[in-house]
Amino acid sequence: MAQVSLRKIVKEYEGGVQAVKGIDLEIADHEFVVLVGPSGCGKSTTLRMIAGLEEITSGEIAIGGQVVNDIPPRDRDIAMVFQNYALYPHMSVYENMGFGLTLRKFPKDEIRRRVENAARILDIGNLLDRKPKALSGGQRQRVAMGRAIVRDPKVFLFDEPLSNLDAKLRVQMRTEIKKVHQTVKTTTVYVTHDQVEAMTLADRVVVMNQGIIEQVGAPQELYHHPATRFVAGFIGSPAMNFIPARLENGAGALRMHLPNDIVLPVPASRTQRYAPHAGREVLFGIRPEHLTEVRATDKPNIATFQATPEVVEPMGMETLVHFWMQGAEVCARLDPAVPVEPGRPLTMAADLDQMHLIDPVSGRVL
């Protein structure tokens, strides 16, 4: 068990392309950290640098307090689960799981004890004699995890381990991974592009974009207090709405002028925070779940406005409606009981206590 430190890590490929642009990250012992971001954001490269599979252009990586920049993967005491499982096709499940221990010349009894223990945790005890070919995708993923567990390493590294599974199995394996972490409590770095995986698994989520860390925080913190437009838009599904607006100071109160002549008041609790930005163009950010039909509620800062849905998506437990405001697509989540149809105007209610204002130039949340 160990903490992992990334200090000013840079990865530059031939031709000067920078995949990772000087990131700093401290991962505590026992912590489950998820690196999340779109394709090409540098998350997998970062993980591979921790594993020692990619050279670091500059910066320093330490595992358990020891700088590992020049230490080969086999001596870093880490275990990795790959997206394509990377099981040795010519070895049985037992041999696959015990391979790392065999190479390290562990006694056979100890290998057997550890493999059987891991197989019990992952419920694959009956598969030990099979070859990977005879396993389903989910079973292969369990074996890949088992191979990591038997090593009892300082750090687990997961590189998009659920991407090759179907949706149902992915949810099931997500729970398995969480359960395994709760059992073995090994420090874990997990890479995914799926924000739902990130939110459900992580103690802390690291949102990456274009080689930099946009924000690090607990899942709820990222959801409720995003630091940038990118994080606000990336975390949450459907994504947060961004509506161009102008912040005006009139008659002692701040107001937001939205397209279609909609004017919404800024809640008193936010006035002091937003006052310095009065008179500027901003982006009004609000999540679909905070944009609903008018409901009987005692929430103090609910503002209403008229909108005409253009697309209606009944989801069963909710109905998503989409409308456009000056080119910006806006999504709202309505109660499925509300009668709604495209083209028929509807009164929408916005919970302004949950709003965000974003500087459209810097992308920072104000």
């Binding site: 020692g52 086999r74 790959f82 394509n84 990377a86 040795y88 010519h90 790392g100 190479l103 390290r104």
Partner: protein
């Protein structure tokens, strides 16, 4: 065949039409019948070029020298009793086995060296290393013959220059054996190299990465990942090369013509000498058929292993 069936099924609306009366008509309409008819030209070619010569050689090998009388296996027992032929068996095995082992080892090393080269330079080297294999062997063997020539040997010139006495490459039995094997290895190693290179490229990088994290050294990656993943290609390449090397004719014929004192004769050249040059076609046929059972047994074992591994490893 399966694909042929599917294509026929799609392309033949009549196949799904209501059943016709008459057995012959029904048989003609069967997809398997149509598939058989489609493969008939290929079967005819195989029959004409492989099966017919094989059975004709078998028939010839059981005739007397004048081909007037059936003698059963007399030719085979006669051959086995002759010291020259016993030496030919030993020389053929020595020639084929040592040449194939050398080709496999050199091909394996070259494939690894090429695989490790950056992609940019790889193509150029790959092309150059394939040259021996693409030159017609009769032509390249003539060049080697010149290099081994007792009077004009370029190799001997180099040896003399560095103070080593010249060698009678094709005149002394053991050097002559070495020379024919060397030329065969020179000619055949690129084939192994290209096959192994293709096999190496098909091993997923992630297996090496997983092995590196599992704690494998470079040697252990080779032993536990590369070789097991290449086993099928290695087996098939060795089998194929062994068949071709056992049946070799041109290299020995051009370099030594079986000499000195028949010490480099192999099945192919000996069969030619006995059958064509000495005019005993039945005996020549019997010589050439000796390879068959040896290679057939070897092929059965290798192909059985390949099929088993394939079933175990591929999804």
């Amino acid at each position: 065949m399966a694909d042929g069936n599917v294509v026929m099924a799609r392309g033949m609306p009549a196949a799904v039409a209501p059943p016709q009366k008459g057995t012959l008509h029904r048989i003609a309409r069967r997809r398997s019948t149509l598939a058989f008819l489609m493969t008939l030209p290929l079967l005819a070619v195989i029959g004409g070029l492989v099966a017919y010569p094989f059975f004709y050689a078998l028939y010839l090998s059981m005739l007397n020298k004048r081909m007037t009388r059936f003698v059963g296996i007399d030719n085979f027992t006669f051959l086995l009793s002759r010291e020259t032929f016993q030496a030919v068996i030993w020389q053929s095995v020595l020639f084929a086995v040592s040449a194939v082992i050398a080709k496999a080892l050199i091909g394996f090393i070259l494939a690894h060296v090429l695989h490790a080269l950056p992609a940019k330079g790889q193509r150029k080297w790959r092309g150059m290393l394939l040259v021996p294999w693409v030159i017609p062997p009769a032509v390249s063997t003539l060049a080697w013959w010149w290099m081994f020539d007792p009077s004009y040997s370029a190799i001997n010139w180099v040896l003399t220059t560095v103070g080593v006495p010249p060698v009678a490459w094709l005149g002394e039995p053991s050097w002559a054996r070495f020379s024919v094997i060397l030329v065969n290895v020179w000619y055949g190693a690129p084939f192994f190299m290209i096959m192994y290179l293709a096999a190496l490229k098909s091993v997923p990088d992630q297996l090496y990465e997983a092995a590196a994290i599992d704690g494998a050294t470079g040697w252990q990656k080779l032993r536990y990942v590369t070789v097991p993943m290449m086993k099928n290609i290695i087996a098939i390449t060795v089998l194929f090369s062994l068949i071709v090397t056992f049946a070799n004719f041109d290299i020995v014929r051009i370099l030594t013509n079986g000499g000195p004192q028949d010490k480099t004769h192999i099945f192919g050249t000996y069969a030619f000498q006995v059958g064509i040059q000495s005019g005993d076609i039945p005996l020549g046929s019997a010589v050439s058929l000796f390879m068959f059972p040896i290679l057939a047994v070897f092929a059965i074992f290798v192909l059985r292993d390949v099929t088993r591994r394939n079933k175990e490893m591929t999804g």
